[in-house]
């Protein structure tokens, strides 16, 4: 049984189609992250799952029951909002228990459930306070508590960490991961932050222009991106995308004299394609040592930035840019040519016309 199933979900505003036939099936206990830049339709999709917006076409099924046209309160879902959406006039305890109160759960039972939830989230000492007396992180916990207490089939998170500062965001990320591991709940989580997606998800759906570009595990999204878009969206610094022309199994990078011998399987799949994009993750590049055997590439170093754990080197190949993440103590001189060696197993090749992986 799938916990959530989306069947051909479409959403139109007038003539503009913001969701173009989303198909998705989620097993119980999965942590699905909808990842995409703003305007890709991920929040609209979440609202359609919640019942806060209606799909123009298609069906939402929660626990094998169609919930199209069903009021949010009857969908057995709970939602955590970006703004936390706590009721400002109610105490923390009442905020958490409000959903139970509206479902006529007896007061004693309610209090017990609220206290249990507060214990899990370590906010027992805050139960008597008003939201205005809480810090951002505490409010976030209360918002999560409000969802948790109801024990719904699916949790929906709408960019829940984006209002927190960087340090707190990391803390809460770990906290969410801990909660998911502890409670085994089914979660749909919307974010534009690729780090959140990579660390939290059991599966990621990368969305673009109202469509799912790739639906896969974080490992696969990172190491075998299906399209150029997915490849460039996930990873920081982003993957290098070099335009190249293929001839005799060798990819000649535009503006460079050197060629990259394509692995056999890629050669086969490339077939007759002439124009390709060579994708190289910055961390797959290293400085050439010794005789420089294997795949190498020459570039002119332009900028060197030390971020702390790594040295980010930006260089140019003709008009194309190449970024490398190197160990912090590497010696690189700005303005000089530099030969980098490439980890051949981490080479990505995309068709320039279709932008799909080859």
């Amino acid at each position: 049984m799938s916990a959530l199933e989306l069947v051909n979900i479409r959403k139109r505003y007038g003539t503009v189609e913001t969701l173009k036939g989303i198909e998705l099936s989620l097993a119980s206990g999965e942590f699905l992250v909808l990842l995409g830049s703003s305007g890709c339709g991920k929040s609209t999709l979440l609202n359609i799952i919640a019942g806060l917006a209606e799909a123009s076409e298609g069906d939402v099924r929660i626990g094998d029951r169609s919930v199209t046209g069903v009021h949010p309160k009857n969908r057995d879902i709970a939602m955590v909002f970006q703004s936390y959406a706590l009721y400002p006039n109610m105490s923390v305890a009442r905020n958490i228990g409000f959903g139970l109160e509206m479902r006529n759960v007896p007061a004693a039972e309610r209090t017990e459930a609220v206290e249990k939830t507060a214990r899990i989230l370590q906010i027992e000492n805050l139960l008597g306070r008003k939201p205005s007396e809480l810090s951002g992180g505490q409010r976030q916990r209360v918002a999560i508590g409000r969802a948790l207490v109801r024990d719904p089939q699916i949790f929906l998170f709408d960019e829940p960490l984006s209002n927190l500062d960087a340090k707190l965001r990391m803390e809460m990320r770990t906290e969410l991961k801990r909660l998911h591991q502890m409670l085994g709940t089914t979660i749909v989580y919307v974010t534009h932050d690729q780090i959140e997606a990579m660390t939290l998800a059991t599966r990621i759906a990368v969305m673009r222009d109202g469509q799912i570009e790739q639906l896969a595990t974080p490992d696969e999204i990172y190491n075998r991106p299906a399209t150029r878009y997915v490849a460039s969206f996930v990873g920081s610094p982003p993957m290098n995308m070099l335009d190249a022309t293929v001839g005799n199994g060798v990819a000649h990078i535009d503006g460079s004299l050197s060629g990259i011998l394509l692995p056999h399987d890629v050669q086969e799949r490339a077939g007759k394609a002439r124009n390709v994009i060579i994708g190289i993750r910055p961390e797959s590049l290293s400085l050439v040592s010794g005789d420089g055997k294997g795949l190498t590439i020459d570039a002119k170093v332009e900028v060197v930035e030390l971020t702390g754990p790594e040295l980010v080197v930006t260089s140019t190949i003709g008009s194309q840019r190449l970024t490398a993440s190197l160990p912090p103590r590497s010696t690189v001189t700005v303005g000089t040519p530099q030969r980098f060696s490439i980890d051949a197993s981490a080479l990505h090749v995309f068709d320039q016309a279709t932008e799909k992986r080859m």
């Binding site: 309160k73 879902i77 009721y87 959903g99 509206m102």
Partner: protein
């Protein structure tokens, strides 16, 4: 530049305004206080000092007591009705529907009309011979003969309250609508997911956002209703049989119709005192809500 000099300059710059204020508010007020202790007539005699006689006479007289009761009912009923209708209208106008902005603009219209125009309009509607209200009620079969709504003591005040309500509910609606738009969408969405129905949502989630602004509207409207003069003067002149004679009408009659400047002045001061109490309550509320946010 010393702070002393800044203070001096501030006073100097405000001086023209202060002089005007003393001339048009301060002096008349002080002179009213003086008048209230005399038996002066509007024309002719300057009057002589009579001590607290005017106050004693007014406070113990039935005219004042009756006017106070009439004013009380007018204020309480019209403001209560305005609040209820205003909030309902705001809730409606806060929904998504086609033509909403046109309706929002139309709603302001009664409030934007001068009171005298509004009063004249309603006098026509209530007219015992050709009034629209009579026609409508008769055609619906609710009454069997035309009635003089403003001419009968037991319907005159209610008719006035209705007319005043029609004019002033848009102000309440406007304030409530602004407050409704300040309710975050996520909060409403969260309450829907939490399972709150329309009534619970209004009571537990939306009402707290409305309470502060509505309180301000309530006090403002109460002060205004307490001072009501023009709509009543145009429609009934306090009649029939003094059934719509509010405090302001009484002050006017005492001072100008009966030309008793002395007791008119003391009556006016009593009304001023009552309104001041309301105004202080208003100021306290504003301070409280400012402190809360």
């Amino acid at each position: 530049m010393t702070s002393n000099w800044i203070t001096t300059r501030a006073w100097f710059l405000m001086l023209p305004l202060l002089i005007v204020m003393i001339a048009v508010i301060g002096w008349p007020l002080i002179d009213t206080v003086r008048l209230s202790f005399t038996d002066a007539k509007l024309v002719g005699t300057q009057g002589s000092f009579v001590g607290l006689d005017n106050y004693v006479k007014i406070l113990s007289g039935t005219n004042f007591q009756r006017a106070l009761v009439t004013t009380f009912w007018f204020a309480v009923l019209s403001v209560a009705l305005e609040m209820v209708i205003g909030v309902l209208a705001a809730l409606l106008l806060n929904q998504q529907f086609y033509g909403r902005s046109v309706l929002r603009a139309l709603m302001i219209l009664p409030w934007a009309l001068p009171t005298v125009v509004n009063a004249t309009l309603w006098r026509l509607i209530y007219n015992p011979e050709y009034g629209a209200l009579n026609a409508a009620l008769l055609q619906m079969g609710l009454i069997d003969a035309y009635r003089s709504w403003l001419g009968e003591p037991n319907t005159a005040l209610a008719s006035l309250i209705l007319a005043d309500c029609w004019k002033n509910f848009p102000l309440v609606a406007l304030i409530a609508l602004a407050a409704l738009q300040a309710v975050p969408r996520d909060i409403t969405a969260a309450s829907m997911v939490d399972g709150a129905g329309a009534w619970s949502r209004f009571r537990f989630v939306i009402m707290p956002y409305l309470a502060g602004p509505l309180m301000v509207a309530l006090v403002l409207r109460t002060i205004e209703a307490f001072k009501v003069f023009d709509i009543i003067w145009v429609m009934t002149r306090g009649g029939p049989a003094n059934s719509t004679r509010t405090l302001s009408i009484l002050v006017y009659q005492e001072a100008f119709s009966f030309q008793r400047a002395g007791s008119g002045a003391s009556l006016a001061l009593i009304v001023t005192l009552l309104v001041t109490v309301l105004a202080v309550a208003y100021a306290a509320l504003i301070r409280k809500s400012a402190g809360a946010s």
